[in-house]
C-alpha cells in the first residue's frame, strides 16, 4: 500500500482521533477504501469535490482531503450535478446514507440516474437513521421476514439496485465495507466509469442495527459470478432477483453500460470570459 499517498488524504481533514463515528462503524471501511482508490488513481485533492449528505455517513467529506460541500438532507446529488455541469474537470463524489438517498432524496436519485452526469454516488447503506437514533430507513428490513405489522408504517424495503436499474443508471455496483479492498476496487471502477456510477455499500451500523451485523453480511455476500455480462440490463435484473431468492447479497459490478456523450467544457467564469458580451444576436430577434 502506498502510505505516502494515503497520508496526502489526511491533510485538510479532521484529525483521525476526532472522527465522530462509533467504534466499528462500517463507514471507517469506506473511508479507508476511498483513500486507497483515490491514491491508486492519483487524483489530486484540489480536483476533488466531495458532496456529503446529512447523517453519519455524510461526515466522511470532512474526514479526508479534498473540497467538500454539504447542504440539505437529500440534496447531495443535485449539488454534485450542478458542480459537474459547471466544471467537468472536477471529480465529483457524492457520499450519502440510505435515508438521505432513498427517502428524502429519492427525487434526486431517480432523476440523476437518468441524467447520467459523470460522477459517483456511494451510499453507505445500513438500513437505519443512525444520527437520530435508529429509526427505519427505506432500506430497513434486509433479510427479515416481511411481517412487521401494517404496510403503511412498515412498507417493504426499497431494493437500491433494482431502483437504480429501473432509473436508467449506467453503472450499478455493490460492496460491503467489511471488505475494504473490494470496496476500493468498486470506487476505482466507479470513478473510471464515464457517467453516473452508483455504489450501494453495505456499511453496518453497530449501534442501531444489531441484525445486519458484519457476521450477518459475511455469511451472505457472494461475488458476482465471472460469467455475468454487466452490459446486459436484463441479466443484471435477473442476477439481483436470483441472489435475493437465495438469500444472498451480490458484490461487484452488477451493471455497466456507458452511454455515448459529447465532451463538455467548463462554463465561463473569469472576467475576461464574461465581460462586454455581444448582445446583438439576441436583440436582433426583438426588433
Amino acid at each position: 500500500m502506498n502510505t505516502k499517498g494515503i497520508k496526502l488524504w489526511e491533510e485538510n481533514a479532521v484529525p483521525k482521533h476526532r472522527i465522530q463515528w462509533c467504534p466499528g462503524c462500517g463507514d471507517f471501511g469506506v473511508l479507508a477504501a476511498l483513500k486507497q482508490a483515490l491514491t491508486e488513481l492519483e487524483v489530486m485533492p484540489h480536483e476533488l469535490l466531495l458532496v456529503g449528505g446529512i447523517g453519519c455517513s455524510g461526515q466522511i467529506r470532512n474526514y479526508l482531503n479534498g473540497n467538500a460541500f454539504h447542504g440539505t438532507h437529500g440534496g447531495a446529488l443535485a449539488y454534485g450535478l450542478g458542480a459537474k455541469m459547471a466544471n467537468p474537470d472536477l471529480k465529483v463524489i457524492c457520499l450519502a446514507g440510505d435515508g438521505d438517498t432513498f427517502a428524502i432524496g429519492v427525487e434526486n436519485f431517480v432523476h440523476v440516474c437518468r441524467r447520467d452526469p459523470d460522477m459517483v454516488l456511494l451510499v453507505m447503506n445500513n438500513g437505519v437513521y443512525g444520527l437520530t437514533k435508529g429509526q427505519d430507513s427505506p432500506t430497513a428490513g434486509l433479510g427479515q421476514p416481511d411481517e412487521r405489522g401494517s404496510r403503511e408504517e412498515h412498507p417493504p424495503m426499497v431494493d437500491a439496485l433494482l431502483l437504480a436499474l429501473a432509473s436508467e443508471a449506467t453503472f450499478v455496483a455493490q460492496s460491503f465495507s467489511g471488505d475494504v479492498k473490494h470496496t476500493a476496487r468498486m470506487i476505482v471502477e466507479a470513478i473510471q466509469h464515464p457517467g453516473f456510477a452508483f455504489i450501494n455499500d453495505f456499511s453496518p451500523c453497530v449501534t442501531y442495527n444489531r441484525f445486519n451485523t458484519y457476521d450477518w453480511f459475511r455469511e451472505r455476500v457472494e461475488h458476482v459470478p465471472e460469467d455475468h455480462d454487466p452490459s446486459d440490463r436484463d441479466a443484471a435484473w435477473r442476477l439481483v432477483r436470483e441472489f435475493a431468492r437465495r438469500g444472498k447479497i451480490p458484490l461487484g459490478v452488477v451493471y455497466r453500460n456507458p452511454r455515448p456523450k459529447r465532451p463538455q467544457r467548463r462554463l465561463p467564469l473569469w472576467e475576461d470570459e464574461l465581460s462586454g458580451v455581444d448582445l446583438e444576436p439576441v436583440l436582433a430577434t426583438y426588433r
Binding site: A68, N87, L267, V277, P281, R287
Partner: protein, 634 residues
C-alpha cells in the same frame, strides 16, 4: 362626449384585443402589433395581461397603449379601440363565447371609441355602445378567411388589416409586408401574398362600414421612423439578457407561470454564450444544481414563482450558511397556494425576506420597469458575487410577461468584476481560510480546482476552514461575520429609494418594485388636482438603511404605502424598521393597479391616520377602517 367635433387623436391610442385563449391567438396579434409599432418609432406597452391558467378555452385579453413619446405608465383601463377576435363555435348556442370580449370590456370603451369584432357567426347587439357614440365595425373575418381565402388561420390577419385601417396606419402595407416576408417568405411567396390579401380584405370591410355609417375615425397612428433603435421585449427576456450580460452562465428552473419564459429564454440563449440551462426535475433540484454550479465558481441563477419559491426555501439557508451565491428570480403571482397563477401580486415579500430557519444575510431587489429588469439584474449579478449570499429579484406576472418598447441604449453590457476570488499564488504563504472572519464579513472565495485553496463548505455551523464546529465563541463569531455582510452592503452598495417631488411637509406615497410607473402617473394626477404628494419608490427593498431613511422621512407628511397585497408587507417592514406610522392602499383582486384608482385611494388614505384603503372590484376604492397595529411604536 361623442366623436363629433372632437379632434382626431394622433399617436395616443389604447387598444384591447380579446378572444378565446389559444384558439384566437390574442397575443400573436398583440405581439405583431407591438413589434410593428416599435419599428414605426412609436412606443407600445402591453403589461396588463389577462389570461387564465388553462391551455384552451378561457377568455383572454391583452390591452396595449401606443404613444409617440415613452408613456409614464400603461394608463387607466379605458380603451379607445376594442378588438374582439372571438366567434361562436356553435351558432345554435349563441350565448358563449362570441360576446365575451364585448361583454367584459365594452364598458371600458370610451365614448366615441371604436369596436371591431368578428361577426362571422352573427352580429352582436351593440345599441347601448352606439348610443355612447362608439363606432362599431362588424367584420366577418373568419368567414372571409374560410370561404374566400380558404385558410382559416389568416382570420387574424384580416382583423389586423381592419385594425390598421381603423388606426389609419400602414396604408401602403409596408410594415405588415416586411413582417410577413420575414416570417413566411421561406414558405413561399404565395403565403406572403395570401396574408397580404387577407389584410386587404380587412381594410375593405372597414371601408364598407365607414361608408355606410359616415363615421369619422377618432384616432390615428403616424409612424416616426428612424428616431431611435428599440426592441419590443418582455421583462423576463430583459432580465435574462441582464443575467447573460452580468455573467450568469448557469440557469435552472422548473416550469411554472410566470417564470417559465425565463427558462425558455435561457435554454435558447445561454448555450450561445458558453453557458448551460437546466430544466430541473423539481424546484429543489433546480436551486441545488444552481448552488452546485455556483460552488464551482460559475454565476448562477434560478427563477420561479411563489409556489416554487416556497419549495426552495430550505436552500436559501444553505446559500446563506455555505456562502454560496445564487440569484433567485421570483416572478410573483397571486397566492397563497396555487392562488391565481396568471394574476399579478406583490405577495412574496415576507417569504423572501423571512423564508428559512435561522438568521442569514440576503438582499432583495425589485425592478420598477421592464428596463430595470436588465439594469437591476446587472446589480444583482455583482451583489450576489460580492456578498456570497442569496439575492432575490422580485418581479410580478405583468412585469415578467408584459412587453413594451425599450430603447436599445439600455442594453449596455458591463465590465464584469469577480469579487475576492483567491488564486493559487494568493494562498502559497498562508493557510487558506474560506470563511475567514473579516471586518466586512466577506471572506476570500476560491474556485474548486485551485491548488492550495481546498475548502470545506457546510450548511452545518463551521469554523473558518469550514470544519463543523459548535464551539459557542466560534459560532457567535461566524453568525456575526455573515450578518456583517449586510452592514457592508448598506454602506457600499445599497441604493436609496427614488424620490419624485418634495417629501418635506408633503404627503408621501411609497411603493416598491413593479408598481412604479402607475404610482408616478397617480402622483401626476394628484398634482394636477393640487395635492402636492411625493413618491418614494424602492428597488433595493431589503435590508433597509435605517439612518438614511429616517432622515428622508423626518419631515415628511403622512406616509401612504401602496402595494399589491392584502396585508401591506412592505408597509410592515417600513413600520418595523423606521418606527413610523404608515397608511396603506392595498389591492389584491388580481387586477393590476391603475393610476386614477390609486390617486383616489391615496386621497382617501390621507383623510385619517391609520387608514387602510382596499381597492376592490375594477375601479372604486373601498375604505375599510382597521385598528392601528400594536407594534406600531408611537
Amino acid at each position: 362626449m361623442g366623436p363629433e367635433g372632437e379632434a382626431v387623436r394622433v399617436n395616443h391610442v389604447k387598444l384591447l384585443v380579446g378572444g378565446v385563449q389559444l384558439r384566437d391567438g390574442v397575443t400573436t396579434v398583440t405581439d405583431i402589433l407591438g413589434k410593428i409599432f416599435t419599428r414605426a418609432g412609436l412606443f407600445a406597452v402591453a403589461m396588463e395581461k389577462g389570461y387564465a391558467s388553462t391551455i384552451y378555452g378561457a377568455h383572454q385579453f391583452d390591452p396595449m397603449l401606443v404613444t409617440e413619446e415613452p408613456p409614464v405608465s400603461y394608463g387607466d383601463p379605458e380603451v379607445d379601440v376594442l378588438v374582439a377576435l372571438d366567434y361562436d363555435s356553435n351558432p345554435d348556442a349563441p350565448e358563449q363565447p362570441n360576446r365575451d370580449t364585448v361583454l367584459r370590456h365594452g364598458g371600458k370603451l370610451r365614448d366615441g371609441g371604436v369596436l371591431v369584432y368578428d361577426s362571422s357567426t352573427g352580429e352582436i347587439p351593440t345599441g347601448a355602445l352606439e348610443a355612447r357614440g362608439i363606432q362599431v365595425f362588424p367584420i366577418p373575418a373568419r368567414r372571409i378567411a374560410q370561404s374566400e381565402l380558404k385558410r382559416e388561420i389568416v382570420k387574424n390577419v384580416v382583423m389586423t388589416g381592419a385594425l390598421f385601417r381603423l388606426l389609419q396606419f400602414d396604408s401602403d402595407e409596408a410594415y405588415l409586408r416586411q413582417l410577413l416576408e420575414e416570417r413566411f417568405l421561406r414558405k413561399g411567396r404565395e403565403v406572403v401574398d395570401l396574408n397580404l390579401q387577407a389584410a386587404r380584405r380587412g381594410r375593405q370591410e372597414v371601408e364598407r362600414v365607414l361608408e355606410a355609417n359616415g363615421y369619422q375615425l377618432p384616432v390615428r397612428l403616424e409612424p416616426r421612423p428612424g428616431r431611435h433603435r428599440a426592441v419590443y421585449i418582455s421583462g423576463n427576456e430583459c432580465l435574462g439578457l441582464g443575467a447573460i450580460a452580468g455573467g450568469v452562465r448557469f440557469y435552472a428552473g422548473y416550469p411554472i407561470t410566470p417564470a417559465s419564459s425565463i427558462l425558455e429564454f435561457m435554454e435558447q440563449w445561454l448555450p450561445k454564450y458558453g453557458g448551460r440551462a437546466l430544466q430541473g426535475q423539481n424546484e429543489r433540484e433546480s436551486i441545488r444544481a444552481a448552488l452546485g454550479a455556483a460552488l464551482a465558481g460559475v454565476r448562477s441563477m434560478v427563477g420561479s414563482s411563489g409556489p416554487g419559491i416556497s419549495l426552495k426555501v430550505e436552500e436559501f439557508g444553505v446559500s446563506g450558511a455555505t456562502e454560496t451565491p445564487v440569484i433567485v428570480v421570483d416572478a410573483q403571482r397571486a397566492g397563497p397556494s396555487t392562488g391565481m397563477p396568471t394574476r399579478p401580486e406583490q405577495g412574496d415579500l415576507n417569504l423572501v425576506i423571512g423564508g428559512g430557519h435561522g438568521d442569514f444575510p440576503r438582499i432583495v431587489l425589485a425592478p420598477g420597469t421592464v428596463e430595470e429588469c436588465y439594469t437591476l439584474m446587472l446589480e444583482a449579478c455583482e451583489l450576489s458575487d460580492k456578498y456570497q449570499c442569496p439575492v432575490f429579484f422580485l418581479t410580478d406576472l405583468n412585469l415578467s410577461e408584459g412587453k413594451k418598447t425599450v430603447l436599445e441604449e439600455v442594453f449596455r453590457p458591463p465590465q464584469v468584476v469577480r469579487h475576492g476570488i483567491v488564486r493559487e499564488e494568493d494562498v502559497r504563504t498562508k493557510p487558506y481560510r474560506r470563511f475567514e472572519i473579516t471586518p466586512s464579513g466577506i471572506s476570500p472565495r476560491s474556485v474548486p480546482g485551485t491548488p492550495g485553496a481546498i475548502f470545506k463548505a457546510s450548511g452545518a455551523e463551521h469554523d473558518e476552514f469550514g470544519f463543523v464546529s459548535i464551539d459557542p465563541r466560534k459560532r457567535a463569531a461566524m453568525v456575526e461575520k455573515r450578518m456583517r455582510k449586510l452592514d457592508t452592503y448598506l454602506q457600499e452598495d445599497w441604493k436609496p429609494p427614488q424620490v419624485f417631488g418634495s417629501v418635506q411637509g408633503n404627503p408621501v406615497m411609497v411603493g416598491w418594485g413593479n408598481t412604479r410607473p402607475v404610482l408616478e402617473e397617480a402622483r401626476l394626477l394628484l398634482q394636477r388636482r393640487g395635492v402636492p404628494v411625493a413618491l418614494v419608490h424602492f428597488t433595493h427593498v431589503f435590508p433597509l438603511h435605517r439612518r438614511k431613511l429616517e432622515a428622508l422621512f423626518a419631515d415628511a407628511g403622512p406616509v401612504v404605502v401602496v402595494e399589491q397585497n392584502f396585508s401591506g408587507q412592505f408597509a410592515d417592514l417600513l413600520q418595523r424598521e423606521l418606527r413610523i406610522a404608515t397608511r396603506r392602499v392595498n389591492k389584491y383582486n388580481g387586477v393590476p393597479l391603475y393610476p386614477t384608482e390609486v390617486a383616489e385611494a391615496v386621497l382617501q388614505a390621507l383623510q385619517r391616520e391609520g387608514a387602510v384603503v382596499r381597492i376592490g372590484g375594477d375601479s372604486q376604492p373601498v375604505p375599510v377602517e382597521v385598528g392601528r397595529n400594536e407594534h406600531e411604536g408611537d
